[in-house]
Symmetry: C2
Subunit: 595 residues, 2 copies
Amino acid sequence: MAKYEAPLRDMQFVLHEVLGVEDRFSALPGQDETGEDLINSVLDEAAKLCQEVLQPLNQVGDQHGCIFENGVVRTPPGFKEAYKAFTEAGWPSLACETSYGGQGLPKTINLFVDEMVASANMSFGLYFILTFGAYLAISEYASEELKDTYLPHLSKGDWLGTMCLTEPQSGTDLGLCRTKAVPGENGSYLITGTKIFITGGEQDLSDNIVHLVLARTPGAPPGAKGISLFLVPKFIPKDDGSTGPRNGVLCGSIEKKMGIHGAPSCVIHFDEAVGFLVGELNRGIRSMFTMMNHERLVVGVQGLALSETAYQNAADYARERLQSRSLSGPKNPDGSADPIIVHPDVRRMLLTARAYNEGARAFLGWVGLQIDDSHHHPDSAAKASADDLVALLTPVVKGFFTDNGTEVCNLCMQVFGGHGYIADHGMEQFVRDVRISQLYEGTNGIQALDLVARKLPMKTGGVIKAYLAIIRSAVEEHQANPLLAEFTEPLDGALYELEGVTQWVIERTGINPEEAGAASVDYMKFIGLVSLGFMWLLMAKVAVDGPLSDDKKFYAAKLSTARFFMQRLLPQTHSLAVVICSGASSVMALEAEAF
Amino acid sequence: MAKYEAPLRDMQFVLHEVLGVEDRFSALPGQDETGEDLINSVLDEAAKLCQEVLQPLNQVGDQHGCIFENGVVRTPPGFKEAYKAFTEAGWPSLACETSYGGQGLPKTINLFVDEMVASANMSFGLYFILTFGAYLAISEYASEELKDTYLPHLSKGDWLGTMCLTEPQSGTDLGLCRTKAVPGENGSYLITGTKIFITGGEQDLSDNIVHLVLARTPGAPPGAKGISLFLVPKFIPKDDGSTGPRNGVLCGSIEKKMGIHGAPSCVIHFDEAVGFLVGELNRGIRSMFTMMNHERLVVGVQGLALSETAYQNAADYARERLQSRSLSGPKNPDGSADPIIVHPDVRRMLLTARAYNEGARAFLGWVGLQIDDSHHHPDSAAKASADDLVALLTPVVKGFFTDNGTEVCNLCMQVFGGHGYIADHGMEQFVRDVRISQLYEGTNGIQALDLVARKLPMKTGGVIKAYLAIIRSAVEEHQANPLLAEFTEPLDGALYELEGVTQWVIERTGINPEEAGAASVDYMKFIGLVSLGFMWLLMAKVAVDGPLSDDKKFYAAKLSTARFFMQRLLPQTHSLAVVICSGASSVMALEAEAF
C-alpha cells in the first residue's frame, strides 16, 4: 500500500525562505498576525489529518468506490467519519471570510493545504474544493440573503457544494446548455433539465447539497449570452436556516470511470427544482467562472499533489528494491544486488519528478500570493496587476501541472517495474486518478487555447510582457553572481526564446486565429517550463546564499535538483520553439474525412 | 463501446508499395508462392476474425476479468469459444514450420496479424504470442524428442505456452532466480519454486500448458551463468503424445492489476514438477532470449496496435462530436456547433497518433523483413547483417513503440474530453491496457540500456554505423528530388545530429559506463524518431512518385501526415540532443538518502 508524508520542510522553504510570504501578507488587511509560526502550525495540523485520517482511506476509496442504490449514493467506508473529523477541525473554513464563520487565512496557505489533502486522498479532497468554489461564487455574486443563508454552512462544511455545468450535448461549449429556468414564486425559479459528470452531486457526507446550476430562462438570447447561474439546494432551507423539504433534485445514476472512485460522478435530474438566481440574468457564465477559475487552480494542485505522493513511494521503492549491480561496480557488495536507485535511468525518472514537483510547489506559492494580492491588496494598481497575472497563469497552473502530473505518476509507476502495474502497490491508482485532472474543469487543450487566444492578447500583450519582464529582472538581478551562472544562463536563453516565440504567436494569431490553436499546447508547456526555471533560480539563490538553517543537505539537494532541471528539463524549449514556429499548416491541411 | 477496423489498406501500402515484400520473400527458400494475393487474403481473413470475434470480447474481458477459484482460472465469457474459432482457423500455426504442422509463412506477415489481434483484443492476443515465443525457443534449442512431442501441439494451438522467469526477488535481475531443478528419472529434472507474473500460467482455453521455466541445478555457478531452461508441462504427455497425468504445477493466485484483465497474471508454484532441459545446462538465459526477443518485438507491436484502435475511435468521435465553432468561422453552420475535428489542437492530437502509427507500421514491416532474412536468407553475409540489425532494433521497437503507445492512447482519450474517462467509451481501457507494454518483457529503461550499453558497442560500433548508413543512403538517393526536399532536409538534419550523438555516447560510455544509462532513454527516442523519419521518407517517395492505384486521397493523406511528422514530431530531436550531451553528472550527483 502507498504511503504519504506531507512535504512540510519543502513547503516551509518555499513560503518562508524563497517567497517570504509573511512580508507579503503583512501588507494585506487583517493578515498582520499571519506569521511564520501560525502558518507552520496550520500546515502541521493539516499534515497530521491528511496522513493519519485521509491517506489510509485512499485505497479503500478506490477499491470500494461509491454505491448508488434507490437514488442514494453511499461514499466508501470511512469517508463519512473522516469528513466529520475534517469539518470538526474547521478545515473547510480556512480561507472563508470571518463574517461567515471563516478563518480568513490567505488563499496561498489554503492552496498548500489543498495539496496535502489531494496527495492523501484526491477523491476526498474533491468534495472540499468544489464547495470552496461554490462559496466563492456565492460570496461574489449572490444576494445578501442567499449569502447569509448558505455561506455559514459552506464554511462550516455541514453543507457541501457542486458545480452543475455539463450536459450530454454541452461540455466545453456551455452555450449549448438546455436546462431551463422559469420564474417561480417570490423571485425564485423552477429549474428543469439533466446535468452530467456532477462530482458529489449526491452523497452521504453532508446534511445538504448546494448545486450551482447553469440554465436558460425563457426568451434568453441563444448561446452563452443567454445563460444564468442558479443556486439549487437539495433541501430547501427553512426560514430559521435549518434544512427544510426535499427539492426536485434527483441523482439518476453514477458513472463507472477510470479513477477517483471515492468521488461519485453523478447524473443529476432537476425537475422543477426551486432555484435562486446568483448574479445577473444572462451573465451566468461570468459568475460561474469565479468558481471555475478557483477549480482550475486547484485541479493544477491535484496534478502536483499526486506527483508528490507517487514520487515519495517510488523513491522509497528505489532505495529498497535490490536488483542488478551498478554500472560502475557494486554499491551494496554484501547484498544480493544493489538498490535500483544506483541506476542512472531510475534516477532520471525520480529527478524528473522532484524537479517538476518542487518547482511547481514554489510556483504555486508565487501564484497564490498574486491571488491574495488580487483580492486584498490595498493599492489598486498592485491589485489590478496581480489580478492580470492570475488570469494569465491560471491556465498554465491547470494545464502544465496536470500534464506533468500524468507524466510524473507514470514515471514513478515505471520505477516499480511490473510491480507498478499491480493494484496492491497503489501506484497504478495514482496514474488513474491523476488522469482526470487533464480533462475536467476544461480540458488542457482548452486551457492552452484560453492562454494563447484570450490571455496573451490581454492589454495588447501587456500582461504577458509584464510577466516575462518579472522573470527577466530576476535573471538580470542574479546574472552577475558567478555561483548562479549555471542557472541564470540556461534560463536567460529559454526566456529569450520565449520572448521571441510569444511575439511570433501574437503576430501570427492576428493574421490567422488557427495559428493560436496550433501553437497552444506547446506554448503552454514552454511558458510552464520557463516559469519553473524562474522558481528554480529563486530557490538556487536561497540555497547558494548561505542556508538560514543548518540543514545543509537540504540545500545541497536543492542545488542538485536545480541543475537537473536546467540541464535536462528546461532544454525541451528548443524543440517546442521549432514546433510552434512551424505554424498551423501541417495541422490544418488534412481533410476531416481523411482522418 | 469502442470499435475497430483493421487498417488493411495501410498494411497493403506498406508491404507491397513501400517495402515490396514479394521480391524480398522470393529470395527466401520455400517462399516463392508468398505473393501479393496470398498475403492479402491472409490479412483479410485475420481482419475478419479480429473484427467479428475478438474485438467484441475486448470490453467483456476488461469488465469480467479472469476468475480464480480452487486453483482453476476461468477466462472471461466468450474467450473459450473465440479461442476455439481462432485455432480452428489455423492462426497459431501461421509462422510455424511446415514440418511441425505449421504454414511456414514469413514472420513479417505474422507481425501484421499480431497487430490486428492486439488491436482487437490485447488480452486475448497474449496467450497466442507467448505460445509462439515458446515454440521458437523449443524449436531452436530443445531435443528432437521434445520438439516432436510439443511443437505440433503449440502450432495447432491445442496446447498453449508460457514464459516463467520472474520471482518476487528476481525481475530484471534473472541471476537472482532461486527456483531449483534437481535431476530426476530418465534425464528429466524435478522443478521446485515459485514464479510470479505468469501470463496465462493457468487458464481454461487449452488442453495443456507448456511452461518454459528458468531454474538452477545443484552446484550451478552463482548468478546468471548458473541458470538453465526447462520445459515443464501442466500435464505430462503420454508416449502416444496425448495428455497424461497432472504435473506438480499449481496456480496459487492471480493478480489484481491495472489492465489486461482478460489475461490472468498468475503466481505459479512448482512442486517437484517434472521438467525437461531445453538447450545446454547453465545456458538458460541465452535460450530464453530467443523467446524473449520475439516477445519484445510483439510487445512493441502491442504499443502500435492499441494506438491504432485508440486513434480510430478518437477520429470518429472528433468527426461526430459537435462542440464550439471553428476559430476561422462556422464549418457546420446548420448544426448547433462544429465537429471538434475543426479545432487545431484536436487535429494535433489525431495527427500525432497517425504519424506515429503509420510510421511504426512501416518500420515494423522493415524490421520484419530483417527477421525473415536473419532466419532464412541463403546468403550468409546478408543473413548475418540482418541478424545484427534485428539485435540493434529489437529494443527500439519494444521501447519506442510502447512509449508512443501510452502517449497516443492518452492523446486519443483526451480527444473525448471528460467522456474519455468514462468506462463505457472504452478509451480508458486502452490507456490501462497499453501501459503494461512499457513494463513487461523488460522495462523500457532496460530496453534503452540494452540498446546503448550492449547494442551500440556491437562490432565496435559497426552495426549502428551500418544502420545509419542505410538511412543516409536513402536520404542521398532522394536528396536531388525537389518534390521530396521537405522530407529529405529535416531527416538529413536529424540524422546528422544522431550520427554526432551516437559518436558522443559511444565515446563517453567507454570512459564512464554510467553515461550510457544517463543517455539511454533519450537516445532510444532519438533513434526511434529518425527511424520513423526514414519510413516517412520512403512512404512520401511512393506517394509523390505517382500512385500505383487511383486512390489519390490516400496518397495525399500520406504526404500530409509525412509533413506533420517532419514539422512537428521529428524536431523533438533538438532537445534530445542537448539533454543527452548534458551527460551523467546531473543524474548521478544526488545522494541516495536525499531522494
